[in-house]
């Protein structure tokens, strides 16, 4: 098949970008969108043009590196599917596909489709962990965790940190990402000791990074390739309310 791509080109963080059009021929329906871009990049390289910069690594939907807006949707039109998993057979022959970077204040563009998502690292560093030094753990079966709780924690833990939730949100909010981590630990006995501190610190960091607030559009859930539910956001709010009240009462 043959497709036309309209892709965002931007040389660096400070330069202005623009859409450029390319035609790519010889595309097989079983190729992924990234493999189509690989083919286009081969073509560009051979023609002495600069290839399109984009991030990817595992190419099987687990590392969270890929991520771009495809026809206006984070990771494209398929539900529960990362860009690297998106196959070309979902596009008609001759289609024009529009590809842009994730756009959010918290994710500045590095080059073309590559964005800087290190804000997510800083949010985790602010409290998205259980403080347990190596070697100090009790036997793993000493603390029992009911199966349904473990399963729910796993549902939240499945986040791949790709940032599609932020890109899909009209407010560029990171609450699904933050809520998923807070929820995972709030469900588990191991997460209890630092529960309040974690919620307060992670949310403060999220605000500092320039992400917007949540106004219940639920676009994030629709875009999430791992199907993380917005109930994580509700849980995050409860955790935050609780932590704020405790803080008011006892000071920090």
């Amino acid at each position: 098949m043959k497709v036309n791509v309209k892709v965002w080109r931007q040389a660096g963080p400070k330069t202005t970008g623009e859409f450029k059009h390319y035609a790519v021929d010889g595309i097989l329906p079983e190729m992924s969108l990234l493999e189509m871009l690989d083919a286009l990049n081969e073509q560009l390289t051979k023609n002495d043009e600069e290839p399109i910069a984009f991030d990817s690594d595992c190419r099987e939907g687990i590392c969270g590196a890929c991520g771009m807006m495809v026809d206006g949707m984070a990771h494209g039109p398929r539900r529960k599917c990362t860009t690297c998993e998106l196959r070309m057979r979902h596009f008609p022959d001759g289609a024009t596909i529009t590809i842009e970077p994730f756009r959010a204040k918290g994710f500045p563009v590095v080059k073309d489709l590559v964005v800087d998502r290190s804000a997510f690292d800083r949010i985790i560093a602010a409290g998205g962990y259980v403080s347990v030094n190596t070697g100090s753990a009790p036997d793993a079966n000493a603390i029992l965790i009911p199966k349904d709780i473990a399963e729910k924690a796993m549902d939240s833990a499945a986040c791949i940190g790709c940032g599609a939730c932020v890109a899909a949100c009209p407010n560029a909010s990171a609450v699904l990402f933050v809520g998923a981590k807070i929820t995972q630990f709030s469900l588990l006995p191991q997460g209890q000791a630092e529960r309040d501190r974690r919620a307060l610190r992670m949310i403060a960091q999220m605000d500092k990074e320039g992400f917007g607030n949540c106004s219940n559009h639920a676009e994030c859930e629709a875009a999430c390739p791992k199907g993380i539910s917005i109930s994580n956001i509700a849980k995050m709010r409860t955790e935050y309310m609780h932590a704020s009240r405790v803080q008011e009462k006892h000071g920090d």
């Binding site: 329906p29 190729m31 690594d57 595992c58 196959r87 347990v132 190596t134 036997d139 079966n141 009911p146």
Partner: protein, 650 residues
Amino acid sequence: MVKVAEETILDARIPEGPIESKWSNHKNHINLVSPANKRKYTVIVVGTGLAGGSAAASLAELGYNVLNFCIQDTPRRAHSVAAQGGINAAKNYQNDGDSVWRLFYDTVKGGDFRSREANVYRLSELSSNIIDQCAAQGVPFAREYGGTLANRSFGGAQVSRTFYARGQTGQQLLLGCYTALMRQVDAGRVKLFSRREMLDLVLVDGRARGIVCRNLITGEIESYAGDAVLLATGGYSTAFFLSTNAVNSNVTAAWRCHKRGALFANPCYTQIHPTCIPLAGESQSKLTLMSESLRNDGRVWVPKKKGDARAPRDIPAEERDYYLERIYPAFGNLVPRDIASRAAKRMCDSGFGVGRSGYAVYLDFASAIDRLGRETVRERYGNLFDMYHEITDENPYETPMRIYPAPHYTMGGLWVDYNLMSTIPGLHVLGEANFSDHGANRLGASALMQGLADGYFVIPYTLGDYLASSRVLNDKVTTDHPAFKASVAAVAEQTRRLVGSGGKRTVHQFHWELGRILWDHVGMSRNEKGLQQAISEIRGLREEFWKDVKVGGKDADFNKNLEFAGRVADFMELGELLALDALHRKESCGGHFREEYQSPRAKRCATTKTSAMSARGNGQAIRPSLSSTRNTSSSTTSISHSAAISKVKQ
């Protein structure tokens, strides 16, 4: 120009005493760094996968200053994230007779008796601590209704000892280790350098004292000094171009250390996984693993008639060859990984393969669906079926899966002693990047275990011993040292040369070609003629690469072509070594199958076990093949290599 390690006798520094007490004795006698002194040391950790991430976090908790590097934009994306199945531990929670000894034995046997037994015994001892540590970090392992941890069974073991978190065990373990790491970043004890690619190791007075990296965003060549360097940069299956590994996986860091004198052991021990989604076309960038567990219920077959183009469902049962069941009636579809892989290759090579390329066999669930019902099959394999469906657009409930083997894991790597130190003092190697624990073939669910054991529980002790005994503290170096300047200049020169190369063929084309040579001649089945051909073809290709590669772009910029060009250049050198090692290794064992060397028994049942376990207790069963390629300039490298060294001192 080339130094051959033929005569080298390496000292693995395996502690004295019976195998059961080696590690505790060792810990009791090695040197310690006092708490007040730890903060005076700077440790460079390259890699943020299970091995690097766990090491960086644990060393920082102890008080060391850690500089941690990775290629990805964040440590959480290291390739460990992709591991699906699970992690072994000798907990014996199932009361089914598991023990440290049994896990040790299974792992050594799985490695076809070519692992270093003392290391493997330690690994088995530490396996339980890993599960404890990860559970305490909030890793949501699968649980039973009563709240205890669940286990699944894995190949190569008669006990149920594999812990898992759905099909995302690697992801969850890595996130556990990543959060521990980020806690140390917050505490200011780890400095994180993501989007950095290590391109050289810096030696001062023969010791590893720093690294040179390229900043993958700005293109700047940076250098960092420290008191020791830990390398945890993963495996090199991507040398084959198509593999189950991530596209950025590379051998570059390990190879550049090798060129600085760190010996490489057993490069030809590579694992080919039998059940992957086959190649769809030349533009494909990687192959996707379908968990081995599918062979529990799937039946492997090809049409009896060569080139039969009918749809699989139109081929009646009597015209199908269920070749695994036919050739290996005792094991049927559950023959070991290497046998299943080679059998599939044989069928396809002789024209019975299916699919457009003819390089695939069917894995059919029709009888399982008849026997168990669709729902049960969905419960067992639903996520894998969905993944297959998404990729191939074929519904495995209706039509058989097409599968073919793919490179998956590399047992070989930089040689390390019992303390995980390479032949360069101060350079330690952890995880898949080293060679010691999996011999000639790796048992399922043991790589995650090894990476975490190395990082959480081995290196925090053995690194202290090195630092305390080497007195590097009295001899601080900075990046102003001439050795750093020289290395930066050399790396910058290679980068400029690659960018400036005005050839015609892309990096991708060269990598594809190298992958083809390796796959055809140094893949599942190897013979002398093919290996010699591979060596000469790789040499030719390498020469062409430096003459005719086209990279483009700028060196001081984000430039993927340039990143890949450096990696492919190294893969081409490693590729030759792989073939040489396979040529010199005149035996079949584990993942290394030499057509000319099959014992009569092995021929009969097509297994390739050739040696027995060495005497218990002294842990001296290893005869790695080593090589050294020092001082090679990039374009004119000629790689030499020695066959197995004859003796490894205890």
